[in-house]
Amino acid sequence: MKNRIVVLKKAVEKEQIVEGLCCIGSFIPYLWH
């Protein structure tokens, strides 16, 4: 069967997530860096 999936965005690895600091909806506006 033909693969019907078109990948639009690759998955992020947990190591990338570890680098994040504040959530997109849960942020202190003044802190993001």
Binding site: K9, C23, I24, S26, F27, P29
Partner: protein
């Protein structure tokens, strides 16, 4: 196999027969025909399709296993974290008088003393570095560059310690940019200065109204000049804080930056955020123009529109992905000018919110800060859990004077996540 609980299904803008699947857990997205959704449940995927969707986190073996995965998600992230992070509030003084400053009435001529600086260095030196290869400090204020000598002193000592342990040391500044001169950068760069987050609140007239010097003069021109002078030496991240009345002016700022040679090649990332109203305990008495909740409709419109304006001009901005609150990090602390330790800068000075101090050490805070309060069936079944983990404790305490319980963001994500994912796909984030 089943569709993951943390997969959102959105219509495709290009085809009525297809849908976009987005994983809030892995930030992956695919375009698939609608009938593939039924094939997942019926076990009719090809082996190749099944492996691909599973690898992207879009399908799961069963929900019980996935539930367990989420319960240990933060623990797993902490185990992978190889960086020890500190935010140091060097002072609560400032050369600007921003109308909305969230530190508000906490501000004053309060500076880190020699004793607190020495205790902090000792606190850093005595952490457990068994699985760490980097120490990172964010110098914060007030205005951190009013304490440039202290930055140099602390960085020199911690840099030497890190080097002796075979670790990397670097630091960043959250600065208003007024003192971010080439001379300051030249002095601090060899000590580990890697980046600075600077704030512009719109084009000159808007910025100067919101972020004047204490004497009343505008600060826009001097900040812009310094950005032009240092943007090739350190990584510059640009933030901006908007209100319901000012956000429509921010695209004008982006155009101006490009005209002045501060395009995407010189500004590492841009992100604008709404000004949140502070609690009455600390709020500046003359300012109530911020938002009290992310549920205010204009916040949705502004956040999506401004992100589009940033992306279409080629600037980088954070992608939509799980990004747990710094409070969840085991190896992350905020220290104020008195040596009191917190898990978030928004908690500074709030009664009962500290987690210890650099003299006597730290105490557990998962219970007092309600960090496990999202571990309930409603949150675990929510597709937005990996983007939320119970919401923002700072917003919770501002609104409810308590960190216990969750700050549900479902309504907010219902409105914004689809458009944000569409932007991520369109701009290749």
């Amino acid at each position: 196999m089943k569709l993951s609980r943390y997969t959102k299904v959105y219509p495709s803008p290009d085809s009525a027969d297809s849908v976009i699947l987005f994983s809030t857990k892995r930030a992956s997205a695919v375009l698939v025909p609608k009938d593939l959704l039924a094939d997942i449940e019926a076990g009719r995927l090809s082996g190749e399709e099944q492996a691909e969707l599973a690898g992207l986190g879009l399908i799961a073996t069963d929900h019980a296993a996935e539930r367990q995965e989420m319960l240990s998600y933060i623990q797993d992230l902490n185990a992978r974290d190889r960086t020890m992070k500190f935010i140091v509030v060097l002072n609560l003084d400032c050369n600007l008088a921003c109308r909305y400053c969230f530190e508000g009435t906490r501000k004053g001529k309060k500076y880190l003393s020699d004793e607190v600086a020495a205790r902090f260095v000792e606190f850093v030196r005595t952490r457990d570095y068994a699985d760490k290869d980097e120490i990172r400090i964010t110098f914060y204020g007030g205005e951190p560059l009013l304490s440039v000598d202290r930055i140099a002193e602390i960085s020199g000592r911690i840099g030497s310690f890190a080097e002796g342990r075979g670790m990397r040391y670097r630091f960043s500044l959250v600065t208003n940019g007024v003192l971010l001169t080439p001379q300051a950068v030249k002095r601090l760069r060899p000590l580990g200065l890697a980046s600075a987050k600077v704030t512009l609140d719109g084009p000159k007239d808007v910025h100067d109204a919101f972020r004047p010097f204490k004497g009343g003069a505008g600060s826009f021109d001097v900040i812009l000049r310094h950005l032009g002078e240092v943007a090739d030496v350190i990584r510059i991240q640009l933030g901006g804080n908007y209100t319901k009345d000012s956000y429509r002016r921010f695209p004008g700022l982006l155009d101006l930056l490009r005209e002045r040679g501060l395009g995407p090649d010189r500004i590492a990332a841009v992100k604008f955020d709404p000004v949140m109203n502070e609690s009455s305990e600390f709020a500046l008495p003359d300012f109530r123009d911020g938002c009290s909740s992310m549920d205010e409709p204009w916040v949705t419109e502004a956040s999506v529109q401004l992100r589009e304006e940033i992306l279409k001009r080629g600037y980088a901005t954070p992608k939509t992905m799980p990004s747990p609150c710094m409070m969840e990090r085991d190896h992350s602390f905020v220290m104020d000018h008195d040596g009191i330790l917190y898990k978030c800068p928004g908690l500074i000075g709030r009664q009962g919110c500290s987690v210890g101090d650099v003299r006597s050490g730290t105490a557990p805070c998962r219970d007092s800060h309600g960090l496990d309060d999202w571990k309930n069936e409603e949150c675990l079944a929510c597709a937005y859990l990996p983007l939320c983990f119970g919401g923002c404790k700072y917003q919770k305490i501002v609104r409810e004077n308590s960190m216990r319980g969750v700050q549900c963001q479902k309504a907010y994500f219902d409105r914004v996540l689809g458009p944000l994912v569409a932007q991520d796909i369109r701009y290749g984030l």
